[in-house]
Amino acid sequence: MLFQAVFRRVLIGIVTLLVVSIIIFIGTSLLPGDVAEIILGQMATPESLAALRIKLGMDHPPHIRYLMWLGDLLTGDLGMSKAGSGAGTIGTEISVMIAPRLMNTLRLSGMVAIISIPMAMMLGLLASMYPGSRIDRIITFSTLSIISVPDFLVAMILVMIFAVQLGWLPSIAYMSGNETGWQLIRALLMPTLTLVTIVSAQIIRMTRATILNIMSSPYIEMAILKGVPRKRIILRHSLLNTIGPIVNVIALNMAWLIGGVVIVETVFAYPGLAKLMIDGVQTRDLPLVQACAMIFCATYVVLILIADMASIISNPRLRHPK
């Protein structure tokens, strides 16, 4: 039963990804102009356009082109970008362009995850242990305030405090790629701080709500009436039942992190994947946009898949069938 449920969920994940790829493909096809026109730019003549279209396989009907694109994608070939190319030539390989940017984004999100998950869970737990207390009210108030403020404003406020007023940190996070140690950390600090603030607020609130909900259930009352110490009630009786929902919240936030870094990367001019995608949109570099969108969507789907797996596996009915 457990295997079946997991298998079915993975299958749904794969189907979702396929649907997403179709939407991305159609979406980018709807944009005016095609790759050949973009590559050739002003140099385009009808003959050269036709020649390049054949070279790029664009003379095939859309569904064939979709399958070709999907096939390339699955074998790791993300296609060619027009960026960095002279007029009339086909540009750089997208995978080469993306690799360092993806590393940067992963580095940033990794830092955020490492800091925010344990911190947010601790704070959520703390708030739920003493509901209505001063510490709970402070935590609830500040998380609610942060959630209500748009992401970029949080970034701006932090810049105002740490870069403008105190002058401790640089207001942009430009990296040349040669940074080491302290320089790297300094560059990452502002965007990380911004994202940690936003992500933690969400996780804290959901952790608190989940635990409070479980703490008011009859089996917790029973544990109290059995004389179980408070610490054990939280760690043994409630935590096991909160894992599913909390992992869900964390995975959702991490998924948001991968996609939602767009604004933060833009504000801080951080050379990550999201910024690359924005640049791609501005220069109408369609293959690049497609590739970036696919990476974001795939990450999202995989993280949600992990969240669902966690709740399937933490469900005792599925783990121990009758």
């Binding site: 008011s216 259930s217 009859p218 089996y219 009352e221 029973m222 544990a223 109290i224 009436l225 059995k226 004389g227 179980v228 110490p229 054990r232 043994r236 009786h237 096991l240 039942n241 933490s314 005792p316 009915r317 121990h320 009758k322």
Partner: protein, 604 residues
């Protein structure tokens, strides 16, 4: 010698949202002696659970101890420091809740939860606690005691879980048990098994107990002393025999009157033939239904099989059976909420579309559903006049003044004041909500009312009033009822005909007097025998009968071959009953029993 537990002038208040206090328990005093069972009896809101929990020095969130003492071994548990309270709980006083299904943590093994308290309190080490648990499983007649501890709560049945909760409470060898309606949610056959187990274990262990319930018949079986409560005050307190046989207080007598006599022939209403016509109002023929994916036209989980029932105009057909027998599914199929997989539903002799979506408006109007939980059936954001007005507009096209007039009539029919039209459901009590729920169904002017456990969630006095209302409404409107209930006594007092369902099959049906007098299907006999009677010593007598020995608390199995009741039947024929589907035996005048035993066998 002082009593084990002394409750002395106990007062408990509830703190409202605006900070003011309102009294819940108003100065209650009583004692519990060693080896004695004291029952707290009363309706919801009487404060019985609140008083019982005070024996553990505990109140539900939002309640506060105001004054008085609860002394255990002479020491006040209310003013005890919290660490001492913790050590006392589970070790000296243990608690059994109403719903074991909600009380067991779904993620931990049964064994861990049963042995947790004594191990944490340092009374036993894990090994000894496991041994003790296994002994208790044996004493409570639970299956496979050696391996039971490794299982999870969802892997055992409801009745077993209820007994496991007793094991959990007893594992730490407490001096006092607090039992909070531990059998209320159970079927009658399961209830008497659990009662018997509780009673013998309490006797064996020599512990004292506080037993909270609203059911006088249950109390009569288990209590030495009875405390009758109303609105946080003691109305009457005395020995069990005295309170049961010579109640001194008016309120106790009212409670007694609400207890229905054990089901027997001759209690049903005399029906006049006023409304009768040739075709039955509603009929189901060769009906099968179930849930899950369809396979060759049959659902993967078949709940109902080959059901034949007809409901005469103006009659009440009671459908009874244990949980899981398919009662609610039958109502859902009749209403079209669940399309049948085979067979027909006929309204006035005309076949109805199986699916609700394909039925015409007038067909929908004629069959109305009254759900069990008025709380969830009524939209909390709509006023009563909106709730009642909707069917009036939809089915009858009433508007404006006409609609208001009809709403007023409906409120009068269900005996509620006119100003209720402007209220919201949350402002009403449970019984009042159920009346609105009924009025909503009646607004459509139906011919058939499907009532699914409509009084199960109500207190006995309130429930009895709703039954009286149903009787009057039938006389007034000529409506027919399909009255689904697991409570045989209620059905016996109210229905014209009874249909007994077992594992999705009709095992017996006929006029009330026929079903409730011999010849019986063995399952009907078991059900009748299991209804607790308001007399001391009933439990012991019943457990000696052959029906009880053979059939009580066995799991219902839905079989593809043979008679589903085979496992529990005291008169089964090996080799026949387990192989072939039983034939229908006719005893005249529509009285039918599905059994391999012949008519002659039954009449001897």
């Amino acid at each position: 010698m002082a009593a084990l537990l002394e409750v002395d002038q106990l007062k408990i208040d509830a703190r409202k949202d605006d900070g003011s206090l309102s009294p819940i328990v108003k100065g209650v005093s009583f004692n519990v002696d060693r080896g004695e069972v004291v029952a707290l009896i009363g309706e919801s809101g009487s404060g019985k659970t609140t008083i019982a929990l005070s024996a553990l020095g505990y109140t539900k969130p939002g309640l506060e101890f105001t004054s008085g003492e609860v002394r255990l071994h002479g020491q006040d548990v209310i003013s005890m420091p919290s660490e001492e309270k913790r050590l006392m709980r589970g070790q000296k006083v243990a608690y059994l809740a109403q719903s074991a299904a909600a009380t067991f943590n779904p993620s931990l093994t049964i064994g861990e939860q049963v042995t947790e308290s004594p191990v944490l309190h340092g009374q036993l080490n894990q090994e000894e606690a496991n041994q003790r648990a296994i002994e208790l499983y044996r004493a409570l007649e639970l299956p496979d005691p050696e391996k039971l501890g490794k299982r999870y709560p969802h892997q055992v049945s409801g009745g077993q879980l209820q007994r496991l909760m007793a094991a959990m409470a007893l594992c730490g060898n407490p001096d006092l048990l607090v039992l909070d309606e531990p059998t209320t949610a159970l079927d009658v056959t399961t209830q008497i098994e659990v009662l018997k187990a509780f009673k013998s274990v309490i006797k064996q262990e020599g512990s004292a107990a506080i037993y909270v319930t609203h059911d006088l018949s249950v109390v009569a079986q288990i209590a030495d002393d009875i405390v009758v409560l109303y609105a946080g005050e003691i109305q009457e307190h005395g020995r069990a025999e005295q309170v049961v046989y010579q109640p001194g207080h008016d309120y106790t007598r009212r409670l007694m009157n609400a207890v229905r006599p054990p089901p027997a022939a001759g209690q049903g209403d005399e029906m006049t033939g006023d409304h009768e016509r040739e075709a039955p109002a509603l009929e189901v023929r060769e009906l099968s239904a179930g849930y899950g994916k369809k396979n060759n036209g049959n659902p993967s989980i078949r709940v109902l099989r080959d059901v034949n029932i007809s409901i005469e105009r103006g009659h009440t057909v009671g459908v009874i059976g244990e949980s899981g027998c398919g009662k609610s599914t039958l109502a859902r199929v009749m209403s079209g909420l669940l399309p049948a997989s085979q067979g027909d539903v006929l309204l006035d002799g005309e076949p109805l579309q199986p699916d609700l979506k394909n039925r015409s408006r007038s067909e929908l109007q004629k069959v109305q559903f009254v759900f069990q939980m008025a709380d969830t059936a009524l939209n909390p954001r709509q006023r009563i006049d909106q709730i009642l007005g909707r069917p009036l507009e939809f089915y009858l096209g009433l508007k404006g003044g006409e609609k208001r007039k009809r709403i007023a009539e409906l409120l009068e029919m269900v005996e509620l004041p006119q100003d209720f039209a402007g209220r919201y459901p949350d402002e009403l009590s449970g019984g009042q909500k159920q009346r609105i729920n009924l009025a909503r169904a009646l607004a459509a002017s139906p011919e058939i009312l499907l009532c699914d456990e409509v009084i199960s969630a109500l207190d006995s006095i309130v429930g009895a009033n709703v039954i009286e209302l149903l009787k009057r409404l039938r006389k007034l409107t000529g409506v027919s009822y399909v009255f689904i209930s697991h409570d045989l006594s209620t059905v016996a007092s109210f229905a014209d005909e009874i249909v007994v369902l077992y594992a999705g099959r009709v095992v017996e049906q006929g006029h009330v007097d026929q079903v409730l007098s011999p010849p019986y299907h063995p399952y009907t006999r078991l059900l009748i025998a299991s209804v607790p009677e308001l007399r001391v010593g009933w439990l012991e007598a019943t457990m000696e009968t052959q029906e009880a020995k053979a059939g009580i608390d066995r799991v219902v199995r839905i079989t593809e071959t043979g008679c589903p009741f085979f496992d529990r039947c005291p008169i089964k024929i090996e080799g026949t009953c387990d192989k072939e589907i039983p034939p229908i035996r006719n005893f005249g005048d529509h009285h039918q029993i599905e059994c391999h035993r012949s008519e002659a066998d039954f009449l001897n």
